[in-house]
Symmetry: C2
Subunit: 108 residues, 2 copies
DNA sequence: TAATTTTATCGTAAAATTACGATAAACGAT
DNA sequence: ATCGTTTATCGTAATTTTACGATAAAATTA
């Protein structure tokens, strides 16, 4: 598959770069780890554990949600956040595909 | 100044977020794929295949090099770029660690 | 109903990213 | 030495990201 200068980037490249952008901040990685390790999803707990203001954490949660890595479920006045299995599986597949290509290659 | 309290995150979270930032643009993913698939590393070829100006591609190459995912070796007037096995291995490890945590978790 | 708790959104400012033309620097070839 | 080729860097503009206080919105509680 040759790509000329007029072509856009491939859909998989676009999608993986979106996921990467979502992981491109340590706070968002920390959030994913919290959701995975503690299995507790209340927004307030996440805010309490991060060295960031509530508004900032809310923004990070929104980005993770928009890209499909987490879900938010309203639970009374609170919001329960959790990992989005489908999005994570998609990311795993896209990365595995690239990882397989870039692993064990020798050039210079 | 918008202060970044990045020192309050864990080193692994910081490092993985740096790698993610490097992958957070489709052009840089495309570059890694090119280096892996074609095993040809001349900067000019990369410029020719991407829908971006030479200066912009050079900037992307610099970012990939700075984070440790590729290396550049001067070859006469040209530069031969190639994957950096060590950096890629480090990324694989960091991601595998997070992937293991976030996989197969159920919450909401 | 009013007050409280919880979270999202708005407004805004600083910083970083992305992009490109122009130019410099390095090298081989003439 | 000069020329053409190749790549990096500079300068700069537009856009995006990050951050936070203030405030709105939604649900619970008194």
């Amino acid at each position: 598959m040759t790509r000329t200068k007029n072509d856009l980037f491939l859909p998989d490249e676009m999608r993986l770069s979106e996921f990467a952008k979502a992981l491109a901040h340590p706070a968002r990685i920390a959030i994913l780890k919290m959701l995975a390790e503690k299995n507790s999803c209340i927004c307030g707990e996440i805010v309490d554990e991060l060295p960031l203001a509530q508004a900032t954490v809310s923004q990070h949660l929104k980005e993770l949600k928009n890209v499909g890595l987490i879900k938010g479920e309203i639970d009374g006045p609170k919001v329960c956040y959790c990992l989005n299995t489908d999005g994570i599986a998609e990311l795993r597949g896209l990365w595995a595909n690239l990882e397989q290509k870039v692993t064990a290659k020798i050039c210079c």
